[in-house]
């Protein structure tokens, strides 16, 4: 049941179950994004004014961090396909490290907002900003947990070139977390 057959079948990388989860998550984020966009259309001034209080450098830096960690995950998959579990583990660890950097930057950003007295109930813009980024924040944590589980199994020799569905599964989820942030950043931090 666990051997990967994707190359001859052209199916999705990793376990199909994770893809059901990924599609569900994308649906939620998609609806959330559109809710933001259309609420903004009704409150343009409020949104534009509130957006000025966001830390755009932190947002951009986090985009770079996530993209890089995604790239590391790609390298991890490549490594295991080359049957190099040790290198796969190194890349995964680097990706987890980048994910942690994301969390630190984000917590710094949240701390800044909370100490300014901003909460979910401040106004519609900050409701969306905090909801979307916190929801995504939790996904990064979940992604790190998944990558860590994959890392542990990789270290104990659980994956090989012939059998690495688990790595692809974790990688697919992590790329989804990255993908969502790629839309979130311009939508919430940039467009006005």
């Amino acid at each position: 049941m666990t051997t990967s057959r994707k190359h001859d079948a052209g199916g999705l990388p990793g376990d199909f179950a994770i893809w059901i989860f990924i599609f569900a998550e994308l649906l939620v984020f998609g609806v959330f994004f559109l809710a933001y966009a259309f609420s903004r259309a009704n409150n343009v001034e409020l949104f534009n004014e509130s957006q000025l209080h966001l830390n755009r450098i932190a947002g951009a830096a986090n985009t770079v961090v996530l993209l890089t960690s995604s790239y590391f995950v790609v390298r991890a998959v490549a490594a295991i396909r080359a049957d190099n579990a040790r290198r796969c583990g190194h890349w995964l660890l680097s990706a987890i490290g980048m994910g942690s950097v994301f969390l630190v930057i984000k917590m710094f950003e949240f701390g800044e907002k909370f100490s300014a007295g901003i909460s979910l109930s401040t106004n519609t813009f900050f409701m969306f900003y905090l909801s979307l980024t916190f929801f995504h924040f939790m996904h990064v944590i979940l992604g790190i947990v998944i990558l860590a589980a994959v890392l542990l199994k990789a270290r104990s020799g659980g994956y090989s070139a012939a059998n690495h569905t688990g790595v692809e599964t974790g990688a697919s989820y992590w790329h989804m977390v990255d993908l969502v942030w790629l839309i979130l950043f311009p939508l919430v931090y940039v467009i006005h």
Partner: protein, 144 residues
């Protein structure tokens, strides 16, 4: 289906997904608890309001009425009855006290609960407190 689709991964999605979303729910609920003092009119909860809520519950008022939209749909919404009755506790007390024991022929009627004056005042005070909860402008109008 030519993809790999394992039961163990489906189980992980189930366990991980439900834990994840339950934690998120807890986080939001925690935030709600912090935001409530500004909305739930707790500064006006007096021993009289507490007694009023008890009278409300022990006569199963929710078995006919809604309160902030929750309950049975047989009788009018009471979350805003204080407003509907012109901000008069006396009007509320008078209404409850004057229900005929045998009902009104052919029509829906509220039972006669034989409440003491203290209980009547307490219920009215409870309904006044309820009407001052910030319920996001619900109901849409005074008719409830």
């Amino acid at each position: 289906m030519s993809e790999t689709f394992t039961k163990s991964m489906a189980r992980n999605i189930y366990l991980g997904g439900s834990v994840f979303f339950f934690l998120l729910f807890l986080a939001l609920s925690f935030d709600t608890l912090g935001a409530l003092p500004k909305r739930d009119n707790r500064q006006n909860i007096t021993p009289q309001v507490a007694l009023g809520k008890k009278v409300w519950e022990e006569n199963n008022c929710l078995g006919c009425h809604t309160l902030l939209g929750e309950g049975a749909y047989f009788a009018p919404e009471l979350g805003n009855v204080y407003t509907r009755f012109g901000g008069s506790k006396e009007a509320i007390m008078g209404f409850i006290a004057s229900r005929p024991v045998e009902g009104i022929p052919g029509r829906r009627s509220m039972p006669q609960f034989n409440l003491s004056n203290e209980e009547l005042e307490a219920v009215a005070e409870f309904l006044k407190y309820t009407s001052e909860i910030n319920a996001a402008n619900w109901p849409p109008n005074v008719q409830g």
